[in-house]
Symmetry: C2
Subunit: 490 residues, 2 copies
Amino acid sequence: MKHKASPNGVSSRAKVLTIDTMNPTVKKVEYAVRGPIVQRAMELEKELSEGMKKPFAEVIKANIGDAHAMGQQPITFFRQVLALCSYPELLNDSTFPEDAKSRARRILQSCGGNSMGSYSASQGIDSVRHDVARYIKRRDDGVPCDPDNIYLTTGASDGIVTMLKLLVCGEGATRTGIMISIPQYPLYSAALAELGAVQINYYLNEQKCWSLDISELQRSLDEARQHCNPRALCIINPGNPTGQVQSRQCIEDVIRFAAKERLFLMADEVYQDNVYAEGCQFHSFKKVLFEMGPEYSNTVELVSFHSTSKCYMGECGFRGGYMEIINLDSEVKAQLTKLVSVRLCPPVPGQALMDLVVNPPQPGEPSHEKFIKERTTTLCALAEKAKLTEQVLNTVQGISCNPVQGAMYSFPCITIPEKAIKEDNGQKPDMFYCMKLLEETGICLVPGSGFGQRDGTYHFRMTILPPKDKLKILLTKVKEFHQKFTQQYS
Amino acid sequence: MKHKASPNGVSSRAKVLTIDTMNPTVKKVEYAVRGPIVQRAMELEKELSEGMKKPFAEVIKANIGDAHAMGQQPITFFRQVLALCSYPELLNDSTFPEDAKSRARRILQSCGGNSMGSYSASQGIDSVRHDVARYIKRRDDGVPCDPDNIYLTTGASDGIVTMLKLLVCGEGATRTGIMISIPQYPLYSAALAELGAVQINYYLNEQKCWSLDISELQRSLDEARQHCNPRALCIINPGNPTGQVQSRQCIEDVIRFAAKERLFLMADEVYQDNVYAEGCQFHSFKKVLFEMGPEYSNTVELVSFHSTSKCYMGECGFRGGYMEIINLDSEVKAQLTKLVSVRLCPPVPGQALMDLVVNPPQPGEPSHEKFIKERTTTLCALAEKAKLTEQVLNTVQGISCNPVQGAMYSFPCITIPEKAIKEDNGQKPDMFYCMKLLEETGICLVPGSGFGQRDGTYHFRMTILPPKDKLKILLTKVKEFHQKFTQQYS
Ligand SMILES: Cc1ncc(COP(=O)(O)O)c(C=O)c1O
Ligand SMILES: Cc1ncc(COP(=O)(O)O)c(C=O)c1O
C-alpha cells in the first residue's frame, strides 16, 4: 500500500483510479462540440454576469445544434400532448384540443399502468414503433417498413454508439475499421476511440460543395485494408458540420460501393427535414436502396438514425430517437435486443415525442393548421438564415463558404496568415483563431480541427441557429474580427 | 466476396455482420430481468388477448421493479410540475398550485431558452445539481456535499456503466476485476461482460439475512488476486434481489476493508427510501465514510448512485438519476466530464424529476400535505406487502424466505426435488421451475440463476409490487404450484 503525507498530516493513500490507471480508450476520446472553447465561453458568461468588463456585452453561442437554447419555439401540439401524458388529470381540461387529448390517451394506453413512469419494452413502445414504421413508409413513397426493425433510442447518439458496438471485433490487422467522413460529427470519432475501433477517414470534396466522391471512398478503403478490417461506412446526410445534401445519384453510388466492398451502411439522417437549397431534396438511403431492386434491397445491411433533436422540432433535451435496421442478420438482431435491454429502456417522454414527430396532426384535425404554421415558420427562418450566413461570410476576403444546403451549420474555409500559424502558443491555428474570436467578440464557434479537415486547411463550424438579429451581429463581428486578425498577422 | 443463391434466385451476399463476426464481448452479456421467461410471458399475454384458452385468466408480472406498471400512482406534485415544464402556457392556469408553478419556473429558468427541449450541460443542469447536493447534506445530517461532485445520469444504470468504464484496463493477469455481490442485480454482470472486465463474486450470507461478511470479501479478493487486478467493490444497499438492509457496522467494516485493500467503492443506493423492517435504517456510505474521520473521508474513493425509478416515486420511464463522486482524482474527473459530454446530456425531464425528488414540497407549501400523504401511502403499502410476502412464502414447505427488510424484492430459497433437477430439459432447474410456474399459473418470476446463487441452491426473485389483492393471488398460486411440483417430482 502506497502512502503519502498530506498537507494536514493525515496519511493519504495513493488513489486507486488515476489518469495513469484509468481506461486508456476513454482517454483517447475527444469531443470538440463541448470542448475547451465552450468551457471558456461559459466562464466568460459567468464573468459578465458578475459585472466584469469585457469588450462585448454578451456571449453568442453558435457552437452546438441546440435550437431551443437559441430561442426556437417548440411545436405547441407536441408540448400539449406531453403535458397531458405527464399529468393525465388535464384530459378533463376543456382548453386542450381534442386531437391532443386523443393522441395522449393513445400513448398512455401503450404505457404500463397507463403511466409514462413505467419502463417500456427495451426496443421501445410497441405503438410508437408502429407509428414510426408508417411514417417511414409514407416518407419513402410506399417502400414497406417492418415495426420489428425499429428500435427507439436515447437520442440518435445512443443508437449510433450501440450499432458501432456490435460491429467491433478483432485485434491488430483484423481490428474492425469504420469509415467516416472528414469533416465528421465528433460523436463518431469519440465512439470509435472508446471502442478501440480503427477510424478510417474519407474526405468530402470541399471544392464540389462537400459532396462525396466514390473514388475517395475507394482510396480510403484500399489504404485501410492494409492495416485493419473495414466493416462499415458511415454517412451523415444532410451533413454535419458541412451542411451539404447528397444527390440521389451519389446515394446510389454509395450503396453500390458498399455492396461491392461488403460494408455495413450507417446512414445518419437526423437532419432529414432540414433541406433549404433550391434543387436539393432529401433522399433516404432506405428508399434509394429499395429502388435499386432486390439484388441490393435483399442484401445490403443498412441502419438509419433519426432524432427528435433536429429538423423543425429541435427537442434535444428529451433525448428521443429511433433507428431502422435493414437486412440485419436475425441472430445479431437478437443480440441487439438483448444488449439494449440491459439499459432497460429509452426515456418514455422522448419516445412519446418521437411518436408525435412521426404522427403529427392530420388535415381536418383541430391542431393541424397551427402545427403547419409553426413548422413552416421555423423551417423558413432556418432557410433564410442559411442563405444569410453563406452570403455574408462569402463577402469576407479570406473566408470561403459553401452553400448551406441543409442541416444547421456552415463550415467555411478560413485563411490563417502564416505568422499566426507559426505562433507557438500550444494551440492548433484554428483553435487559436476561435479562442481569440471568443475573447475579443464573445462569439463561440468550434474550430475545424474538432471535426477534421484536410491538412493545411482551416475552418470553423458555426450553427445558423441564433435569431436573425443576433446572427447578423455575429456575422458582422466575425467579418471584422477576421479582417483585424489577418492584418495583425500579416 | 461470398455469394449464395437465395430462394428467389437473386444472388445474396453473405452478411457483413453475423453472430460469428460481431463483438464477442456483447455476446457474453446476459440480462435475466428481461430474459426468455419475460418474452414467454409477453407471448402468453398476447395469446390470452387473442382468446386462446389457458389455465389462468391473466399474466401477473413480478419480474421487474416497475412500480407504475403494477398500478402504483405517481406523486401528483411531480407530475404537475412536469406538465408545467412541458407546456409553460399552463403557468397561467389557476388550477395548478402555486408551489408547483414556482418550482416549474425555477427549473425552466435553468434550461437554455427556458425550454426542456434544450440540451443541458453534460454533467446536468446546474441548479438541479445544487439541489441534489443540498438533499444529500440534509440526508447525511450535515456532511458537506459539493455540487461539482454530482453528475446527473440517464437512470442509475447509465452512471454505473460509466463508472465501471473508467475503471477497466489491463490485460490477462492485470485485467481489472470488479467485486460484486452474489446474488447481484444483473446490470453489473452484463456491464462487466461488455467491458471485458473480470467479475469477482462475493457471496452474501443467506443464513444471516443476506448480510455481508468481511471474511467472505477477503476470501473472494484473495482468490481474485491470483488472476486479475481487483480495483473496485460494488455494494447494493438496500439489496436487489435480496431485500436486505446493511447495518451501520457492516458499512463501516466494508469501508475499512476497501481502504485497507485499496478498492474503489461503488454504492448502489437506489432503494434508499425503501426500508420497511423495524430496527432497520438506511445508512449512506457517504455519511458513514465521513463519520469515520479524515483518514477515511479524505482518501477512500466512493461513488454513490441514486435514481428516480425506485423508492416511493417509481418513475422508471423518465430515466432520471444522479451519482455523487467522492475523492475522485481530479484528472480522472475531467476525463469523466469529457466522456459524458459525448452523449450530450441526460434527458431533461428526468433531470427535472430528480430535482423534485430531492426538493419536494416543504411544510407550509400548498402541496406539502398531499405529497406527504401520497408518499406515506405508497411506502406503507410496500411495507405491508413486504411482510405479507415473507409470511406467506414461509408457510410453504420447501420455500424459505428472509425478511424483506427493504428494496422491492423477495429472493426465497426453494427446494427443487432431485428428480426435477436431473430432468434433462436443457434448462437450469430454477428456470425449469419458473417456466413451469408461468405456463401453469401465469405468474412471471425470475429464476435465481439470473442473479447468481451458491451452487446447488435454487431461488426465484419476485417483486412485492403487484397490488395487494393480486399479490395475495400470486402468493397463493406460488404456494399451490410449489406443493404440486414437489409432489410431481418426488
Ligand atoms: C449528425 C448528427 N448525428 C447525431 C446527433 C446526435 O443527436 P441526438 O443524440 O441529440 O439525437 C447529432 C447532434 O448534433 C448530429 O449532428
Ligand atoms: C440495484 C439497482 N441498481 C440500478 C438499477 C437501475 O435503475 P434505473 O436505471 O432505472 O435508475 C436498478 C433497477 O432495477 C436496480 O435494482
